[in-house]
Symmetry: C2
Subunit: 340 residues, 2 copies
Amino acid sequence: MESVTLKDIAEHLGVDSSTVSRALSPDKRNLVNPATRRRVLEAAEVLGYRGNQQASALRRGRTGIIGVIVADLGNPFIGPVLRGISSGLGGKGLLPIMTETQDSSDELARICNKLLAQRVDAIICTAGRQADRAVLKRLAKEVPTVLAVRRFPNSGITTVSHDDAAGGRLAAEHLLSLGHTKLAMLMGPQDIWSFEGRTQGFSEAVAAADAECVLVDEAIHLPTLDAGRELMRRLLDQTASDHPTGIFAENDSIAIGAMHLAREHGLRCPDDLSIVGYNDVPLTAHLTPALTTIKLPAYEIGRLAAELVATLIEDPGRSASTVTLSPELVVRESTRSVRI
Amino acid sequence: MESVTLKDIAEHLGVDSSTVSRALSPDKRNLVNPATRRRVLEAAEVLGYRGNQQASALRRGRTGIIGVIVADLGNPFIGPVLRGISSGLGGKGLLPIMTETQDSSDELARICNKLLAQRVDAIICTAGRQADRAVLKRLAKEVPTVLAVRRFPNSGITTVSHDDAAGGRLAAEHLLSLGHTKLAMLMGPQDIWSFEGRTQGFSEAVAAADAECVLVDEAIHLPTLDAGRELMRRLLDQTASDHPTGIFAENDSIAIGAMHLAREHGLRCPDDLSIVGYNDVPLTAHLTPALTTIKLPAYEIGRLAAELVATLIEDPGRSASTVTLSPELVVRESTRSVRI
DNA sequence: TTGTATGCGTTATCAT
DNA sequence: ATGATAACGCATACAA
C-alpha cells in the first residue's frame, strides 16, 4: 500500500531526488544525461512509481483539475455536454470534478466554495439562474470560469453557448410556414436565461407575422415532463374549444409531457396539434410521432468550453470572450401543415 | 488572487498557525479556548479563508476525492447512476472525478493510472469488459475499489450490481406467459458480464419451458441503436418467412433499433412482434409503443456504491462484499398476447 | 490551552 | 549534468 516516491527511486539509484524529478519531467528531461535518464525511467517502471499529483500541485500551484457544475445529472440533455467536456479536457491532460446543484442557489454557492478549496484550476458552469448572477461574478474573479450552455448577459464572464432567440425564431417560423396561425408557447422557468431567450425569439417572430399567440407561463420551477403536462392542461383550460394548433414547448421534456396530456384529451399529434420541442435530446427521434425540435449543439458546446478553459488557464488575464453557436431546426413527425 | 493561508490568519491575530488550524478543524475545535476560537472564525470569515485541500491532503494522506469510471457518458442509462453516486458522495463530503473509457481497455488502464496519481481515496468503476479483469484486480489491490452495475464474478472486488440472470428470466417468463412460443434474443456484447448474465437467465427460462429460441449474436462491440437494427436484420434474414414473435433485446437501445427496422419491414410492434428491452432508460416510457422493459435500479446502485465506498475508505481491510439488487419487469405497450 | 518543530512529496533555485 | 536546499500549506507529536 505504501507508495513509491521520488526519494525511493533516488536512493535505489544513488542519485539525488531532484535529478529523478528532472528526468521524469516531460519538459526538463533534456537537462539530464540520457544515460541517467534511462536508468531513472527503468527504476520508476520497476518500482511502480506513480507520482503524486497532490504534492506536485501544492508545489506548482496547479492541480490540473477543473470543476464542472451542472444543474441536474438526470436531465438526458446533459449527457452530450459532459461527453464534450470530458473529451475536450482529456486532450489537455485535465481532469473534471463533477458536481450537481439540483438548480438550487444555496447548493451552487456551497459547491463553489468546495471547488475553490480544492484549488481547481478553472470552473465550467452549466447551471445558474438569475439569482446566482452575483455568486458567479464573484467566482469568476477568483478563478478562471467559463459559462457553458446557460449564459448571463453582460456578466463579463467567458461564455460558450448558443443563440436561444434564434432557436425560438426558428420554431415560430417553422410553425408559421406550415400555415398555423393560432400559436401557443409552453414556457420554461424564465429566470433561466436560455428560456427567456427562446421566449423572446419566438415572440418576435410571431409578432412580425401578426399571428396570434397564447403564452402559457405558470412559473414552473423545473422544465420536466410533469411541468409539460401541467402547462398543456392550463392551455386547454384557457382556450376551451378553440385550441391553438401550433405549439412551441421550450424544451423537449415539456413537449413530451404536453403531447401525452393532449393525447389523453383526444387531441392527436400531428393531426390536431403540431408541437415543436427544444434541445434534441437523445431518443426524441424515436418517439412516435418523432419530435420536431430545435437542436442545441450540446457536444460542441461542451468541447469548446473545455478548450476555452484550457486557454484561460494559460492566460488568466485574457479578456472574456463569448462564443455563440447556432441552433438548427430538425423537422420530424410532430409538426404538419394545418388542414384546410 | 493570492489566497489566504492559516499563517495569514495567525499573523493577523498574533497567534500560531497551529492554533488556527485546530480552531478550524471540526474535530479538534474543543482543544482550543472558545474565545480564541471565536476570534479565529471571525478572522477567517473576514479575510476570506478557504483552506487548501491539496496541502491538507498531502499532509493527511487523504484527498476526499473519488475516481468514477464510466464507459460512455452519452449512454442515457448512465445519468441515473451518476445522480446516485453524486448524491451518495455529497452526503459524505466526498467529491467525484469523472472519467470515461469509451469502453476501451487501453483507455481504462490509462485512466486508472491517472486516478492513482491523483491519490483518489477510492474508485467506483462502472466500466470494464472481460479483458479488463486483471487491470481491475490490480487496481483493487492498490486502492479501495467498488464495481457498480457491471460485475466480475469471483473477482474478490466489492460490487454493487443487480441480478442480470433474474432479469433475463423475467423477460422470458413474460413473453412465454403471453403465449409466445417462438422466441429470439438480440444479444449485446457477451464480454460484458451483464449481457452474459441476461443471456443465461433468458436461455434457462426458455429451456425450462421447452420453447424455441433463435440466438442472434453478431458479436457487436457496443449495444447501440444501430447494433439493434443490425441484429434485427440478421434475425429477419435467418428466419425468412417464419419469424419469432417474442423478442428479447438485451438493452433498450437494441430494442429501439430493432423495433424501427422491423417497422421498416412491415412488422408492427406489438401487433406482429412483442419486444422486451432492458434498463428502463429515461423516455422509454414515452416511445410509441411504450417499451416493455426490465428495470435496472440504476439510481440505487449508484447511491449504494457511493455509500459502500465511504465505508471502504474508513475500513480498508474490510473483506469484499457484494450487494445484488433485483430487476423488475415493467410491462408497457410493446408486448402483447400472441394472436390465435 | 497554546506554541514549536517537523514532514507529507514535489519542484525550483542556486551552487557545484 | 547533478546535488543541496528550501518552500508550497497544512496537521500533528511533543513541549511548555
